[in-house]
Symmetry: C2
Subunit: 418 residues, 2 copies
Amino acid sequence: MAKPRIVIVGGGFGGIKLAKLFAKENVEVTLIDRHNFHLFQPLLYQVSTSILAEDEIAYPIRAFFRDHKNVDFFMAKAEGVDQARNVVLTNHGEIPYDYLILAAGATTNYFGMKTVAEYSYGMKTIQEAIKIRNHVLHMFERAAKDETPIEEKKRMLTFIVVGGGPTGIEEAGAISELIGLQKKEFHHLDFSLVSLKLIEATPHVLPMMPQDLQDKTVEILRKKGVEVMLNTQVVDLDADNLKLKDGTVIPTKTVIWAAGVKAVSFVAKCGAEVDRAGRVIVQENLMVKDAVNKNFFAIGDCANFCHGTERPLPTVAPVATQQAVTCHKNIMKLIKGDQKLDAFHYKDLGAMATIGRGDAVMNNPKMSGFLAWCAWMFVHLIRLAGAHTNLTVALKWSWNLFSGIRLGRIITSIKVDE
Amino acid sequence: MAKPRIVIVGGGFGGIKLAKLFAKENVEVTLIDRHNFHLFQPLLYQVSTSILAEDEIAYPIRAFFRDHKNVDFFMAKAEGVDQARNVVLTNHGEIPYDYLILAAGATTNYFGMKTVAEYSYGMKTIQEAIKIRNHVLHMFERAAKDETPIEEKKRMLTFIVVGGGPTGIEEAGAISELIGLQKKEFHHLDFSLVSLKLIEATPHVLPMMPQDLQDKTVEILRKKGVEVMLNTQVVDLDADNLKLKDGTVIPTKTVIWAAGVKAVSFVAKCGAEVDRAGRVIVQENLMVKDAVNKNFFAIGDCANFCHGTERPLPTVAPVATQQAVTCHKNIMKLIKGDQKLDAFHYKDLGAMATIGRGDAVMNNPKMSGFLAWCAWMFVHLIRLAGAHTNLTVALKWSWNLFSGIRLGRIITSIKVDE
């Protein structure tokens, strides 16, 4: 009898965990991703702010499965699922499956604002992070030139991060420190022209944190020179100006959009019900609701799981990796003919966010300051090390902590018109 | 009295060395480069073959001069020199000078073959190295797909390096090891389809080495699976085929061109005499021949210096850095009113080239094998460390030596039609 063929769409935290679990079973696994690497997304902001190089948070997917010949990687863009025929449609042909798991992740949500999607900088892919790095560094170089008029200098040196979640907080903190570093090296630039704003639509940053840590976070950011604008809504953007709901126009060439995520568009083309954020609705056992055949599952950021919870589970790595464990168990049950599947239960391990060098907040246990930062660093290092075996990150962080230096400040491409 | 204004065009080995020397003098320095980083070019092949990340061999120019407020960096593309008016013309306006030094470096020489320039991959900039990395890795991913016809697979897996100098040798050696690594991770790809060729127009590789080391180099390359084709001339190239002078057509999508260099085109727009390779002719004291005012010098790859030597000095870093010392001394003499300038004398410290992990050749002292490789590694590490203070490279190299792992194998962009 042929081995069951497991197809996984997506090489993020959930997809890699699943493939590692199935690698040890008597099955054939095909992992599909449009990139040939697994991205350690929580550290993407460090690439965008010149702290780490891209190869330190991106790991070749095939390297995970060097010793597992039953796992095959297929580099392609998934375009849909034909449930009736049990095939995934990709830009490089059809991939047949016996069992399918969507772990396709999330993309930036611009909430329908086309101009924002066009002119702002997203924070979800390595390419986007490199674009931010190149652009921000280049703005300093442009502004440093005498030929640039003063109001243009100010526009070039106004950096705006939208979104008060962990990504926005971490990005704003890291940019504020980058500015401090640039100050030492741009001997003739007037740094009173530089400003950094964090815009959040709700009254709070870090919604998963208790009020006092939220306040603490805002306080730390303000001390770092970040202008925190709460209750502030973006309505429009072009190449030169950001427009707020109250009519305010902020001249800027840099809006980094970290205000929300939604499932990638392909998820809606799988013949299953999706929610407003494009996530496929899953049952308690992680099987896709109303799956045509009982062989179609979804986990992580692209799945809407809200059994026993008021809202769908958050789009964070621990949800995806925990769901991978349950999903693997359930599919192995089906393969063995056992129809009684396990329900998924999420164990919330708490949340943490760093606000720059030596400062962080966390809610489990509740902590802030240098100790929380050490905890943050430790947790990220062991997770990264488990996945990437990369000592250079520890080295760069220690270095950065003591010296503030960032070796990654190189501009590898700029727009032709600049 | 205003301080003398020294303008340096180019942030390579020569330009940085010069700026460091002038930083300690009572002068104003402006360093012009189109990139904001100094590139450690001898290790470019390691970025193109996924061993190092780009920020490990590229260092932000401004970081060199953090403590020297008299050195200013100006990111721009130099476009010419108006000697009569003592100004450098750039895409961001004119830069006036009292003393000017061209240290503009070299670019790839395609010897007038337009199709080769269009379809081959150059090896002079960090962007080109990243392009090679992305393309080579992507060829493996494409060839691994069942949908790809067998003759296309073979074409995608035929890698050709043109040029038997150090760059070509090092690139071919590093690709051969990359192929070995890929072999462990592409479980279903037929590696008998993979081939790697090194093409050299003359009868010898490494012209600066004695015959026995040349032979040794060819022997090592052949052992590594590189087909070394000497006395072989390229005449044409398109997206699918390479054409040789003898009429042979080699189906390939990857031709890496390391066959020659010439000065960047801007050098010819400085109103001075240039040689066939576009290099400006300099006097023994490094002043540009027939300079309109006695304040215009040139060093390094963009200068033709052949006093007391049969041919112009080679385009290598030690020539540029040694010339920087003499050039600095001569300009300081002129500033102090001393018209008796020093003649430049090149001290040849020997050449070395690595042919992959644990193997290298060098001519001073004459050596090959593992010891030569250790010497190569040592020399490059201390030079890189002196410039870049980057321990991560030592770490990655040790790792690579023992495990062969290359964490950099990530594809960050591919052509849309692929």
